[in-house]
């Protein structure tokens, strides 16, 4: 039995609702925080504010119609989302796409990863209060979006990969533009380090904050750069290579510190790796068709198909249960943000509100990816 302490001052938990409209929850994530002063005791993510039932919608769409919808989930890695669906359908049908398609898809994935990491970088700076990073990051991202727009006709929701190949061939200017961009960005990326990474305030804000050990990372299924920062080697590009990744050599950016700074630096390293991957591929794109002749109505043979790719946020998977009809019986997206979010409470417990913001942006959450 608990004994009453009469002269103790009654304290209450300080419940704060962070979001759904909050500058650092990037969209419509709502966190219910239990605070004690500045210290975060409990984080309860409430999601679903942008749940659009994409899995349900996919059950009534034909297979070629699905990739366009996946652009709307994780809009920052739209091409990877399309790619995973296309790969899954192609594998199920036993279609082998030409090497040209594989190369272009890989280049696009890496450009998309760069664009996503640039946006993440500027948002991370902004969350920590360095507002100028936001504009520098977007300035560089704009160049990638221009490349996308010239070839795909869209900047964000590309819809470039389709089952059996690509929507169009690359634009004649594509290779030149990519080269220009690489030359430009090789000069700009060190500026990122000088402006933010090296900054003593930034280092103090991130070093040792939100340490998440490797066992916990695997247990919580945290993948992508956030997982690799804790030493969890989870790069699908390495372990289950797809598209043109078997043809390129690159290093998996790993770190074992598992804090916010490590998550930050893994992403910066990944940007360098992405640039090197693009450089290896861009001049060697083989000639050939960009599309395999597919049947008018695509029907997957009955069965279950699971395909994973490495999106900018981690291990992105699609699981299709087919009953042999022209639309999937059940389709499930394994979104990396969803699993990463589940670890937010464990990561940020005991840290301050300002640290929670830093941890959250180091996880790089995209809410439509989580809510689907």
């Amino acid at each position: 039995m608990q004994e009453a302490e009469p002269d103790r001052i009654e304290t209450q938990e300080y419940l704060v609702n962070m979001g759904p409209q909050h500058p650092s929850t990037h969209g419509v994530l709502r966190l219910l925080l239990k605070l004690e002063g500045e210290i975060v005791h409990h984080v309860d993510p409430h999601i679903g504010y942008i749940h659009s039932g994409i899995e349900k919608m996919c059950e009534s769409l034909t297979y070629p119609q699905i990739p366009y919808l996946t652009d709307r989930m994780d809009y920052l890695s739209a091409h990877m989302n399309e790619e995973v669906v296309c790969l899954c359908i192609e594998n199920a049908l036993g279609v082998e796409v030409p090497d040209r398609v594989k190369y272009i898809r890989t280049i696009f994935s890496e450009l998309q990863r760069l664009a996503s990491h640039q946006l993440w970088w500027c948002v991370m700076g902004m969350d920590l209060g360095a507002l100028t990073t936001f504009f520098y990051g977007l300035r560089d991202r704009e160049k990638i979006l221009d490349i996308f727009e010239e070839t795909c006709g869209a900047r964000l929701t590309l819809h470039y990969s389709i089952p059996g190949g690509l929507m169009f061939d690359i634009h004649p200017n594509f290779q030149k533009r990519v080269h220009d961009f690489l030359n430009y960005f090789r000069k700009k990326l060190p500026e990122y380090d000088q402006l933010l990474t090296g900054n003593v305030i930034f280092q103090e804000r991130t070093r040792g904050i939100g340490i998440f050990p490797k066992e916990a990372v695997i247990n919580y299924g945290v993948t992508g750069p956030s997982g690799r920062a804790s030493g969890f080697s989870c790069d699908v590009r390495k372990h289950l290579p797809y598209s043109a990744y078997p043809f390129v050599s690159f290093q998996e950016a790993l770190d074992d510190r598992g804090d916010t700074l490590a998550r930050y630096q893994v992403r910066i390293k990944e940007m360098w790796e992405s640039m090197s991957i693009i450089e290896q591929l861009i001049d060697n794109i083989p000639e050939g068709d960009v599309q395999v002749k597919m049947k008018g109505v695509v029907k997957l043979p009955e069965g279950e198909y699971f395909q994973r790719v490495e999106s900018a946020r981690g291990d992105f998977g699609v699981f299709i249960i087919s009953d042999g009809k022209k639309s999937p019986y059940r389709l499930k997206f394994r979104s990396p943000g969803f699993s990463n979010l589940s670890a937010l409470h464990a990561m940020s417990k005991g840290w301050k509100i300002a640290d929670l913001v830093a941890i959250m942006s180091s996880l790089d959450l995209v809410i439509p990816d989580i809510d689907r």
Partner: protein, 160 residues
């Protein structure tokens, strides 16, 4: 003593990293020609979209008010959002055969997600993506468009 030196060197190193950051922002401050802002409504005259830019679906007509649409309805089927409706009519040809032609190719821009599937799947290349991007209107009924112009007919030589 070493603790004091460490303290002092920490302070100086910290200040050095801060100066590094200020150097970057200062570099851009004194170079206004690097400004990247595009002043949108003012630069309308010079603004040009990429030729593949997906703005809206249109149906090109030639100078004789002819288009290439046969009214087959493949675009309607391939559209994931139901933003295309095809209304066909049947005409009696001079040789007595009945022929199905397009009456109205209705396009709901408000429902369209510009995925390009209809353009890609069109067997007679009758529809293309236009590069327009200023779609704001006062009333959403204005977003429903009829793509084939009134009185237009199908071009010679388009295969059914």
């Amino acid at each position: 003593m070493s603790a004091i030196w460490k303290y002092i060197s920490d302070v100086l190193k910290g200040i050095w990293t801060l100066i590094q950051g200020m150097r970057i922002t200062g570099y851009y401050f004194f170079r206004p020609r690097l400004i990247v802002t595009q002043q949108y409504p003012e630069n309308r005259r010079t603004l040009e979209m990429f030729e593949r830019f997906r703005g809206e679906v249109t149906m090109p007509h030639n100078e004789n008010n002819e288009h290439r649409c046969t009214g087959c309805g493949i675009c309607e089927i391939s559209c994931p959002n139901g933003s295309i409706e095809i209304i066909t009519a049947t005409v009696l040809l001079p040789d007595g055969k009945k022929k199905r032609i397009i009456d109205k190719h209705i396009y709901h821009l408000g429902m369209c997600s510009l995925c390009n599937l209809c353009v890609k799947n069109c067997p007679s290349d009758a529809i293309v993506m236009a590069q327009t991007f200023e779609h704001a209107v006062w009333d959403r009924t204005q977003l429903t468009k009829v793509l084939n112009r009134p009185g237009s007919k199908i071009m010679e030589g388009v295969k059914e």
